[in-house]
């Protein structure tokens, strides 16, 4: 039973995206598409035929699979509704971040492979953002891991409480900004446009079509939900089950649903109240939250709480 909890992330990740889009539309006074729209999009893309450029090599063809599989492996590692998991032995949070980085690396390679200018632009921007975001994620994770005494995510989520201390709040803020930057949300990247001046993620996958595009989009949704789940596990593990009893699992699923809805609402509010910044201002936003993350770790080391 507990082997299968990663299926929750895989199945429901388009739903989370749909909910965010719906809430965002409601915030802006529009009706918006149905919350099931990402599923329809994926089904439609899976039915379409694929077109390849003649100059592409094998990297272009294996990348969707590498991205999708590495994202699923990352999803297997984190506790979703119960901390007891057979994969918990390898559930190391540092490995998780770098498994996600593997997918991102191949995506950037594939974008360069097609030889279009948009692909190169997109991958260079994605690398800039990831250079800034990855150390930030690591610092936040270290802050929490030192308190928990382990880098295993299940062990971090185990204490069953909401730790309120200065270092945790700083790390929480930095992690939220890191999630926004890493999933390509509005102050950093606009996921809805295909405007060449602003796109980061869309620029990289411009050459893909059909099933491969569906795989990449789906793994993007999964990655977003992985980061949300990681956030919940690290900072508010309240209510997560410790064993595999049915009642506990049902209750923790409900709590998990609530937390996801809350995060989706937060993202929608951020997206509709903020404007997208210029590309060259991204380092100053992310740099600010990097200082927050450094402060979190320093505070933890020096104050001890």
């Amino acid at each position: 039973m507990e082997y299968l909890q990663f299926l929750i992330i895989i199945i429901f990740s388009p739903l989370v995206q749909g909910i965010i889009k719906k809430l965002k539309a409601n915030c802006q006074g529009r009706v918006g598409a149905s919350i099931l729209q990402p599923y329809y999009d994926l089904i439609r893309l899976f039915k379409k035929e694929m077109v390849f450029s003649r100059v592409t090599s094998w990297i272009f063809r294996v990348t969707p699979f590498i991205v999708f599989i590495s994202t699923i492996v990352a999803a297997m590692m984190i506790p979703v509704i119960t901390t007891k998991s057979s994969f918990s032995l390898m559930g190391d949070v540092i490995a998780l971040i770098y498994i996600l980085a593997l997918g991102r690396f191949f995506l950037a390679l594939a974008a360069l492979d097609a030889g279009t200018s948009f692909g190169g632009e997109g991958s260079s921007r994605e690398m800039i953002v990831s250079i800034l975001v990855e150390p930030m994620l690591m610092l936040c994770i270290f802050t929490v891991a030192i308190t928990a005494g382990s880098t295993n995510i299940a062990m971090i989520a185990e204490p069953q409480s909401f730790v309120l201390s200065p270092s945790h709040v700083l790390a929480l803020l930095a992690f939220l900004i890191a999630i926004i930057a890493d999933t390509g949300r509005v102050p950093v990247d606009n996921p809805d446009t295909h405007l060449e001046l602003t796109m980061i993620h869309e620029g990289m996958i411009l050459e893909y079509s059909g099933r491969y595009l569906a795989l990449i989009e789906w793994s993007h949704y999964i990655k977003q939900m992985i980061l949300f789940t990681l956030f919940v596990d690290m900072f508010v593990p309240l209510g997560i089950a410790h064993d595999t009893e049915m009642t506990g699992l049902i209750m923790s699923s409900g709590v998990y649903l609530l937390k996801m809805l809350f995060l989706a609402g937060f993202m929608a509010i951020v997206e509709s109240t903020r404007a997208k910044v210029r590309v060259f201002q991204i380092p100053s936003i992310v740099g600010g939250s990097f200082v927050l993350a450094v402060l979190a770790l320093l505070t933890l080391i020096m104050v001890g709480k």
Binding site: L164, S165, P166, V169, L170, P283, S284, G287, G288, F290, V291, L292, V294, L295, L298, T299, I301, M302, V303, K305
Partner: protein, 221 residues
């Protein structure tokens, strides 16, 4: 009240807030936002003193808290805002360094302070953590004064330094007698008023947009 203060680390949060408002001005470009950051910094300072006063009931602590709030939290920001209004232009702070670089430098400053003022320092009253934060705020204020061009930004750097000095003295000595604190606050008000007059004069003499201090380098007799 003492119980939940210990439980929720309220004092740690307030002192971290003082540090963060001091760092945040590195990333702000509008001078109004700087004044707001200074205002919040002073409010947090007086809140911290108030919490200490609740923990160790002494009357002069309450007086110091109220005095800080009234002078630095209300009067000075109001005065600075009126000066900015007199300048009649949207004030954008010009800096010699880029935003991210100055943020990183202030991060390094904090790291150096945290490391060099290790655990060995004996501090009466509240935690040695507050002393570290106050020294960091002093150095960040100095850094702001060095790297900003316009006069009003330099004044704000000085005011942040003053807040840091106040906090450092407070964390070491549990506050001076009320009469001394009254004198210090009065001094500060005078300094800011004189500087304000100077600033308006500089602007009128050189008719520059933001009282740029670089133009004073040519003044040699």
């Amino acid at each position: 009240m003492k119980d939940w203060m210990d439980l929720l680390y309220v004092m740690d949060f307030v002192s971290i807030g003082i540090l963060i408002t001091a760092i945040s001005i590195n990333s702000l470009s509008q001078i109004e936002a700087w004044i707001k950051a200074y205002m919040i910094n002073s409010w947090l300072l007086s809140l911290l003193i108030f919490f200490v006063a609740v923990k160790n009931p002494e009357h002069h602590l309450y007086v110091a808290s109220t005095l800080t709030f009234a002078s630095k939290g209300v009067l000075l920001p109001f005065f600075l805002k009126s000066i900015v209004k007199q300048m009649k232009k949207v004030q954008v702070v010009e800096t010699y360094l880029s935003t991210s670089l100055s943020l990183i430098i202030s991060g390094i400053i904090i790291a150096i302070v945290y490391v060099s003022l290790g655990k060995g320092i004996f501090v009466t009253g509240f935690s040695s953590f507050v002393l570290k934060i106050s020294v960091a705020v002093i150095l960040i204020g100095l850094f702001i004064m060095i790297t900003r061009r316009s006069a009003i930004a330099q004044i704000l750097g000085l005011l942040f330094m003053e807040n840091g000095v106040f906090l450092a003295g407070f964390s070491l000595t549990f506050g001076m007698p009320s009469i001394v604190e009254l004198g210090v606050v009065f001094d500060l008000l005078m300094i800011v008023i004189i500087m304000g007059v100077f600033m308006v004069q500089i602007k009128q003499k050189f008719s520059s947009d933001a009282a740029d201090m670089d133009q004073l380098t040519n003044l040699k007799g």
